[in-house]
Each structure stands twice: as C-alpha cells, then as structure tokens.
Amino acid sequence: MNSWGLALVVGSLLATALAFVWVAMSIGGDKPGQAGEAVLTEAAKGDVEHIFNDEFREELRNSGRIHFEKIITENAMFLQQDLRLTTAQLNDYMKQEISKTLQEEFGKYEQSISDAKQLAIDSLEKTRSAIEEERQALRLTLEKEFQMERERLVKRFEDNMAEIINHYVLDAVGNEIDLNDQLEYILGELQANKAVIVEDIRSGA
C-alpha cells in the first residue's frame, strides 16, 4: 500500500510535467512560414514575455508550488492514513499470526508436555507396578522363608524341648535342688510303678 501511494504521487508529478511540455510545444509548433514563423515567433515570444512575465511566472510557480505541496500533503496524508491502516492491519495480522503461531506452538508444547508427562506417568506406573510386584514377590518369599525358619526352629525346639528345658533347669536351679525336696516326688513315682518294680525285684531275687 505504501508503494502504491508513492507511485501515485510520482505519477501526478509526471503528468503535470508532461502537461507543461505539451502546452509549450503546442504553442511553439504553429509556424506559417519561415519569415512569418520568425515574426510569429518573435511575436509569440513577445506575447509570451508579455503574458508570462516574471510576476505571472512567479504566480504560476507559486500556484504550482502550492498545488504541488497540496497534492504532496494530501498524498502524504493518504500515505499516512494508508500507512496507519496498513500498520494497524499489519499489527493485527502480526498479532493474529503471532497469536496463532504461539497458540499452535503452545498447543504443540502443551501436547509435548502432556505426552511427556503421560509417558513419564506411564513409565512411573510401570516402574511402580514392577516394584510392587517385586515387593510382593519378595514379601511372599520372605514370609515363606520366615515361616519355614520359624517352623524349623519350632520343630527343632519341640524335638529337643525336654533337653532344652532340662538343660535350662539344670543351669538355673541345678545347684539349688535338694534331693530331700525331691523325695516325695521320687517316692510317688516309685509308688506309681510299684507293681512293676516289686515284680521285677521279686522275680529276680
């Protein structure tokens, strides 16, 4: 739009210049004869000098200058308006384009972020699932091992319980157990097995 305005101004100036040239040539182009032509020429020159004297020329010059300035001013104003309009449109266009591009880029960025986030979440979820499975498997294995070890210890303890308790009693109160305190227990056991004992002693005696 800017170049069009400039071209319009230049075109106007060229048209004005061509108009002056055409007027000058049309005035100087009518020659009835060589002599007459010269006379006419001189007369024309005189008329021209008479008509287009310095004042008139100055007026024309001033008028042309004013007209030219007016045209220039108008065109400059148009150009300014066009420029403003163009700038505004360009700004709007740039805003739209930038906004659109930014929105697209932000959309892509958000999508990328979302994809990366989802990927990370999936990865974390898989890792968490794998860890959970490993933990469950380890827990089961450990529980099984603990159970087996506990059962083994319990079985071993139960198998040797009498020896263990006997050893404990021996260590704990072995030196404090008086045989006289056990007499009642021993006599009770003897009495309980009296029949077998007596029979064996008498059969052997």
């Binding site: 319980m161 072995g174 045989l179 006289n180 021993i186």
Partner: protein, 175 residues
C-alpha cells in the same frame, strides 16, 4: 516311664531263706556289706589269735556302727562265736543273693535320703534290697532306677519328655 530291660547277673534269693536276721536301714549298699564282712572276718581272726595267745590278749577292736546296729536289731553278741558265724553267713548270703537296685542321681545323695529310699524298697519289694548309687548330673532332678531287668527313669528330663504336649501347649498359648 516305660521300664526297659537290662541284663543282670544277680542270683535269686528267696525272701524266706533267712527270716531270723534283719538288715538295718543304715546298711545300704554292697560296699557296706563288704566292709561288714571284712570287719566280721577281722573280728573272727582277732578272737582266733586271742584264743591262741591267751596270755597276751589284746584289746577288743571297736565295732563299727553298722555292725553294732546288726547286733542290736537282731539281738546278737559279737563276742559269741555262733553269733559271729551267723552274722557272717547272713552277710555272705546278702552279698551273693540280695537284689540290687541301681539308682542314679544328679547330686551325691545324703545317707538319710538313701535310708528313706532303702526303707521303701525293703518295705514294698524285698527286705534285703541293696541300693547302689551313681551320679548323672545331666538329669537335673529326679532319679533313675535300674532293677534286675528293668529301667525306670524318674528324672525331670523324662518327665519333660512325657509332658511335651503340655509344654508345647503352654508355650503356644502363654497366659
């Protein structure tokens, strides 16, 4: 406490073979019988020598407490040859034919404790039962008896084994 059989070479003795003499409870083991037998033999020898060397009669040896007990419980007099002979025969009979019960304890039993056990055996089983004692510290408490053909474990260890189910139950549900 299921009795186990063992091999013993004890010669049977009939309870009715010698009812005239009683065996004091203080005489417990075969060692006591052997010591008494040697004492009676030395006494016999002393009296034999005394009869030969009447002029140089020595002082009568002091009788042991066990020999004194036999004399007192049976109304005998060691100064009499017949009584000495009777005691000697009695001791030989006991030594060869009395039933022997082997008892094992965690600690060395005191004489009065052994006397009480001996009293039970002589009252319930046979009047001439002899008790041989031994030590088994690993039984903790109680005792183990071994008669001619059987084995009786009255130790706490065996008691614990017999009460294993009760022990297990009490440990599984402690109060």
């Amino acid at each position: 406490m299921a009795p186990d059989t063992n091999n013993s070479t004890q010669v049977p003795i009939k309870q009715s073979e010698d009812k005239t003499l009683t065996l004091p409870l203080q005489i417990i083991s075969q060692g006591d019988i052997s010591r008494l037998t040697r004492e009676v033999e030395s006494l016999e020898e002393f009296f034999a020598q005394a009869s030969i060397q009447a002029a140089n009669a020595k002082t009568l040896p002091q009788a042991s407490s066990m020999l004194t007990l036999i004399n007192e419980e049976n109304g005998l007099n060691i100064l009499q040859k017949e009584d000495r002979l009777k005691i000697k025969q009695f001791l030989e009979l006991i030594h060869t034919k009395a039933p022997i019960v082997h008892a094992s304890f965690a600690t060395e039993p005191k004489p009065d404790f052994l006397m009480k056990l001996t009293a039970w055996f002589r009252a319930e089983a046979h009047p001439y039962v002899l008790l041989e004692t031994g030590l088994q510290p690993n039984i903790a408490a109680g005792c183990i008896f071994r008669t001619t053909n059987k084995y009786f474990d009255f130790s706490f260890r065996e008691h614990f084994k017999a009460s294993k189910a009760k022990l297990t139950a009490s440990m599984r549900s402690p109060q």
